[in-house]
Amino acid sequence: MSFDIDITARRGAFEIAATFRADPGITVLFGPSGAGTTSILDLIAGILTPARGRIAVDGQVLFDSAARINLPPERRRVGYIFQDARLFPHLSVRANLLYGYNLTPPETRYAELDHVVEVLGIGALLKRAPLSLSGGEQQRVAIGRAILASPRLLLMDEPLASLDEARKQEILPYIERLRDELKIPILYVTHLGSEVERLADVVVEIAAGRVTGQRQT
């Protein structure tokens, strides 16, 4: 499975023009904060709408300005892990995990609750309320919630940025395991070289909304 992205959009002060391809494994979008990396993820997820361009997965079009195709976020099957976990505060951890799972038709599911819970080590948290969890635990639940919706592409927007060093070290192995287990592309935004070194299969460098370089690691 691979994603083709070729989009432009106006975001406040500058224009975003992003063209790249994401294959299974981790593609890091590497750029300083404010370079438009989060906007690129929002455009792919369907939270923002590009001015022009095309987003396709294995030939299926999610967005195409020329053909006037613009699937709403819920039909794109693009998982999104935000910098803040954004768990639903009124639902238990278990209900959070199953939120997207229950909305996914059984024939398109590839992730099951028991396995995801075991991989992420969140079995003891299922009955808890999201706001009673530590930042690292919340982020693990958010990762599980996104994966249980069986996405075709996973977007991760600086998922470690709001965590301290110890928590980061706690989450990183899980992300590596996801990369190795899931057969889907992961787009990972960061501005930290250390995360690039540890996680990236491909690095796409972004500055002022534009792709300035691309390399394998």
């Binding site: 997820a45 369907g46 939270i47 709403p72 976020p73 819920e74 794109r76 099957r77 693009v78 998982g79 999104y80 935000f82 803040d84 954004r86 639903f88 505060p89 009124h90 939120y99 997207g100 909305l103 996914t104 706001l131 919630r145 996104a146 919706a149």
Partner: protein, 229 residues
Amino acid sequence: MFDLTPAELEALRLSVKVGLVSMLASLPVGFALAYLLARREFPGKSLVNGLILLPLVLPPVVTGLILLMLFGSQGPLGKFFAETFGVTFAFRWTGAALAAAVMGLPLMVRAMRLSIEAVDRRLEFASRTLGAKRWWTFVTITLPLSLPGIMAGAILSFAKSFGEFGATITFVSNIPGETQTLPIAIYSILQTPGGDGPAWRLALVSVAVSMVAIVGAEWVERRIRSKSA
């Protein structure tokens, strides 16, 4: 414990009925307006907002007069409701409920609007990326998260309706058993010689009911908040 006469009990019963009916009838209207004001930009938005808030600042007697003009038996809306739904308002308890609803609407809409505005829209985006259609996101995320404000708005509206006097007596007059709610009954008793004794008794009843409503509202709100925060 208050040892009420049948007539006083009737006034209390009517006040509770008017309060509940006006609250329940304004819930969907109030929520729709609150949602519109919180989330949408449209031409004439400040006019709509102003119209909703107007009963809060107008003398109630003026609100009652406007209701009489619009919803009286000869009024355009009064005729419309009579012909389309078979509902008449003039000199009936339904009119008292309408007056109470109009007077309570600003409080209800304000409480609901604040609580809808406080819902983190990023949670709604998260829900959409998990496969939820717009309406499902609304039902499972937006609505439950704005529940404290909906409850607060509902109880404020009931409290206001329960105590409404000026617009009600102007619009539907003072008919025992039909439009004579608790405050109007108190007013009537005060008009008769030696009436302040019984008036005090009824006044205590309305204090008790209002206190129960307010304390109940706080309790419900705290419970919902502690569950979601």
